[in-house]
């Protein structure tokens, strides 16, 4: 009797387990279907339900949804995940993860998400991926929980902290836990302890969490502690802000330096007012575009090297155009600065319109290679790789140019011709040839600048116009004919500009800098570093 009873009990328990298992599978497919229907609000509920199911299969589905890779196949209404594979999409069944062939965008309906839903998904995935074997995923999970603390994730976080071996990720988990505690209904002691953890994190996200804690605190002690913590974070951030401004200034200075350094040669040492200088920069940028375009269609694996390939080509293209301009127009106008100014200005319009006719008026896309995208943190400074490389590149160009001028025969001839043309000519230097090469060198360097600027500005026929005034400003301010003056001038103007901008605004900041330069030139007409010697007279 007892045995029979036991048997019945076991079998009913087994049956219950079986039913539960099938119910779970059915549930999951129903939950997944819910993701694809209804309004954005309905889908938000569906995401929550799917995350709450705790099913391991939920995380990849939600991730695909957040990335816009979840599709509904039109032919059979199956929910599939599509990853780009050439022009097609490689499909896998969402629930089973089995491959489901390939398909094109036209055969599939993408499940649409909006920002709000993406945020909800990120938080949901965050709590599901806390235990992921990939440390980067765990860290991202901690970060997203920190930004969007959800009291329901507390238990998962505690478990994750207990199991974590990597000290840095453990800290990130603890910070996330603190943020979660602050929005939960934990005790006062817990909250005060959590405030300290968040304060020690000390960045903008932490400040955001602290501000939210101040706004939401009901207990006066917690509120006071949160206010104090926020104040201390703000204070430490203020110091970083000054450092940030210096960095921005250096970065802006490097862009100015790149744009101006070619002009420092053509205008500074040859005395040619070249209004078409900006167009040489533009030609460099378009060369980059053409190189990338060819690479994209024919050699996609070389994409990360595209800028390196573009550099010599841009130098040659812009340099050749520069030599052609010098031989064709400017050499007839030496000693007539006004005529040169008008002729080169007209030329700049011709070049712009030529590029517009060939490439069309709209912006061209120049992509960033992997090593130039994104940013890294230095303390509380956010430094973008693109800007960092441009600073490095501008210094490299500067040093190379100095070496060319000081150590090569061409540099020697150039200096000789600028210092005393008749004497150089008498010594057997072919001055017209040196003139053409000097102008070509200045233009070629502008072309190099174009490659770098294509990364931060838009590649359009108007690209050069934005830099021509600034370039002249830098060269005149730094001292005509002095390359070090150009370096110091560019950096100084960049930093001054960036310290003025937060207080005066971008428009007024620019005006103030201009006024400052005008006044400065009144005091020192030859700029920061005046050339001394006979050539000046």
């Amino acid at each position: 009797m007892f045995f029979l009873r036991l048997l019945a009990g076991v079998s009913s328990a087994l049956a219950a387990v079986l039913i539960a298992a099938t119910a779970l599978a059915a549930d999951l497919s129903a939950l997944v279907t819910n993701l694809t229907t209804g309004s954005f609000g309905d889908r938000e509920t569906a995401v929550g339900a799917l995350a709450a199911s705790g099913d391991a299969r939920a995380a990849p589905i939600l991730e695909a949804l957040g990335a816009g890779q979840l599709y509904l196949r039109k032919s059979d209404n199956a929910v599939v995940i599509g990853k780009p594979d050439g022009n097609q999409l490689a499909l896998t069944e969402a629930i089973s993860g089995k491959p489901a062939g390939t398909g094109s965008e036209a055969e599939l309906d993408r499940v649409r998400v909006n920002n709000r839903l993406r945020g909800v998904i990120e938080a949901a995935v965050g709590s599901l991926t806390l235990m992921s074997p990939d440390p980067r995923v765990r860290r991202d999970a901690a970060d997203s929980l920190f930004k969007r603390p959800d009291p329901a994730a507390l238990a998962a976080l505690d478990a994750a902290i207990a199991g974590e071996k990597d000290a840095r990720i453990k800290t990130a988990f603890q910070e996330a836990r603190a943020a979660v505690v602050l929005v939960s209904d934990a005790s006062k002691q817990d909250k005060l302890a959590a405030l300290e953890v968040v304060r020690d994190k000390g960045n903008r996200d932490a400040l955001s969490v602290l501000q939210a804690a101040i706004n939401g605190a009901s207990d006066p002690d917690v509120k006071a502690a949160a206010t104090a913590a926020a104040a201390s974070v703000r204070q430490s951030l203020a110091g970083w802000e000054a450092a940030q401004n210096v960095w921005y200034g250096i970065s802006l200075g490097s862009v100015l330096l790149l744009a101006a350094i070619g002009l420092a040669i053509t205008f500074g040492t040859m005395g040619v007012i070249n209004m078409a200088h900006g167009e040489m920069v533009m030609l460099g940028a378009y060369t980059t575009f053409v190189v990338q375009d060819i690479i994209r269609t024919s050699f996609p694996h070389l994409f990360d090297a595209s800028l390196v390939i573009a550099l010599p080509l841009a130098f040659v293209v812009a340099g050749a155009v520069g030599i052609a301009i010098e031989r064709g127009i400017i050499r007839f106008l030496y000693g007539r600065p006004l005529d040169t100014l008008l002729a080169t200005w007209g030329l700049s319009l011709v070049l712009q319109q030529a590029v517009r006719s060939i490439f069309g008026p709209s912006n061209r896309e120049v992509g960033a290679p992997a090593f130039m995208s994104g940013a890294f943190q230095l303390g509380q400074l956010t430094i973008t790789y693109g800007r960092l490389w441009i600073v490095v590149f501008s210094l490299l160009v500067f040093v190379t140019l100095i070496l060319v001028l000081r150590k090569t025969p061409l540099g020697l001839y150039m200096r000789a011709v600028t210092q005393n043309r008749p004497m150089a000519s008498a010594m057997g230097i072919r001055t017209p040839r040196v003139d053409a090469l000097t102008f070509g060198l200045g233009s070629g360097i502008a072309g190099l600048a174009g490659v770098a600027l294509s990364q931060i500005d838009n590649v359009s026929p108007n690209l050069g116009q934005g830099y021509i005034i600034d370039s002249f400003m830098v060269v005149v301010f730094g001292g005509v004919g002095n390359l070090f003056g150009t370096l110091v001038g560019a950096t100084a103007l960049g930093i001054v500009n960036k310290f003025l901008e937060p207080y005066a605004g971008a428009v007024l900041g620019k005006i103030l800098v201009l006024v400052f330069i005008i006044l400065f030139i009144q005091r020192r007409p030859r700029g920061l570093f005046a050339l001394k010697g006979r050539s000046v007279e």
Binding site: F40, G68, N115, N215, G360, S362, R387, I456
Partner: protein, 430 residues
């Protein structure tokens, strides 16, 4: 005698011939349509496309036999992004070329520059770009959006759907962003947003170094309240702005940016993957799915011989404006400006977003409002749209100067700035 009679017959014949030629001319002479868009200079980036779309529309209309039995002929001039030149070229189109209507202008300052010319010479201008409102002229038909057809619904969307509480209003320093931001600021305050939760920032045209401003936005956004950026940044400056946002890691989930001047054309120059989820408010997106739009995209890509060429909102405005003008000319039976202007009001034509747009008595049109999120492929996904079309408020009710004004170009009112409080035409508000 004989000679005389021969001469006489000759003269009669010549007269007959001339007469025949004259009447043939009256029947068959093409109707001239002016296209006033910059093909060189800074604005060429945006305006060249509009010139192309006008050429396409005229070609398509001629395939259907033109209008009133006459062919259409495009007269294209290039005002070269030079505002005073816009006025000169407009005068040339109206006086020398005697065009029946002009489609043109992009920036508000170019519109303001040609306005006196159109009023003096009684021409017709179709203006296709979203603008700041605060204007209604008898000679201009505004087929772009007024602020309440773009800016205000976008702010409402962010407030209701994304629960935004702090606002950065960033714009280029000129009339459209300044007026739009003034309207938005008044609107936000009326909705209970505090002064300290609004940050207004202006930058010069073609601004390219956005590091400080992006850092400011990040700083403003770390006050524990959801923050959004409302961008009226114009033209070329958008590309470096979005590049900097992407590099600084500001994601749309954290601080969404909603733009009023960024369309498919502008996105064509950027890698949009880091911008996923940033928003734009327009009255049309290329991604809108309906047969009219699909047919239009097909014709456009065939016309430009570029299967990847994108379409955008101001193009749609020209499509609507051109269709309305054709209808009005048919209705009036002539291209005479006075008759066409009177015939325009009340005309409704299909728009490309899948509905009808009608010309209202204030010379603005009804439009649906769409909010879209940027996708990785440079297109927008519509995430919200008005259920019907929205009527333009040419005079904003949120500005003290204009809240009492209305425009109605029907008789007997026939006034672009009628003050409903004083009951007089031409009055500014109190």
């Amino acid at each position: 005698m004989k000679l005389g009679s021969i001469l006489k017959t000759g003269m009669v014949a010549a007269g007959l011939l001339a007469g025949a030629a004259g009447s043939a001319l009256a029947q068959g002479a093409p109707i001239k349509v002016g296209v006033l868009h910059s093909l060189s200079g800074t604005m060429a980036i945006s305006e060249t496309t509009l010139k192309d779309v006008m050429l396409m529309l005229i070609e398509e209309q001629n395939k259907k036999g033109g209008v009133l039995g006459r062919k259409l002929e495009a007269v294209v001039v290039d005002p070269a992004s030079n505002w005073p030149l816009f006025a000169e070229k407009a005068r040339e189109l109206l006086q020398k070329e005697k065009v029946a209507a002009v489609f043109g202008c992009w920036t508000s300052v170019s519109r303001k520059s040609v306005l006196p010319v159109f009023e003096e010479l009684n021409g017709i201008l179709f203006y296709p770009v979203q603008y700041e409102g605060e204007e209604s002229s008898r000679n201009v038909f505004y087929t772009g959006a007024a602020p309440n057809q773009q800016a205000i619904p976008a702010v409402d969307y962010l407030m209701n759907n994304e629960k935004v509480q702090r606002w950065v209003l960033a714009g280029t320093d000129y009339v459209y962003p300044r007026t739009t931001n003034k309207i938005l600021e008044a609107y936000l305050k009326q909705k209970g947003v505090k002064q300290e939760d609004i940050l207004i920032n202006y930058t010069p045209f073609g601004h390219s170094d956005w590091q400080s401003i992006v850092a400011d936005i990040k700083k403003f956004g770390s006050a524990g309240k959801k923050t959004a950026v409302v961008s009226t940044i114009n033209g070329d400056a958008n590309v470096p702005f979005y590049k900097e946002l992407g590099n600084a890691g500001i994601k749309a989930k954290d601080i969404p940016v909603v733009a009023f001047s960024v369309g498919e054309e502008e996105l064509a120059g950027i890698d949009t993957k880091p911008l996923l989820g940033h928003l734009a408010a327009w009255n049309y997106f290329q991604s809108v799915k309906n047969p009219t739009n699909e047919a239009f995209i097909k014709t456009w890509q065939a016309f430009t011989k570029n299967p990847k060429r994108v379409t955008n909102d101001p193009m749609e405005a020209h499509v609507i404006g051109f269709a309305m003008w054709i209808e009005a000319v048919k209705k009036a039976g002539t291209t005479d400006p006075d008759k066409v202007i009177d015939a325009m009001i009340g005309i409704a034509v299909p728009n490309l977003s899948g509905g009808l747009s009608a010309m209202m008595p204030n010379h603005h049109i009804t439009k649906p409002v769409l909010i879209g999120e940027i996708q990785g492929n440079g297109q927008f996904d519509t995430v919200w749209q008005t259920s019907g079309t929205v009527v333009a408020e040419e005079w904003s009710p949120y500005l003290p100067d204009s809240k009492d004004l209305i425009a109605d170009w029907r008789k007997p009112m026939n006034c672009g700035n009628f003050n409903v409080v004083t009951g007089k035409c031409g009055g500014k508000g109190k």
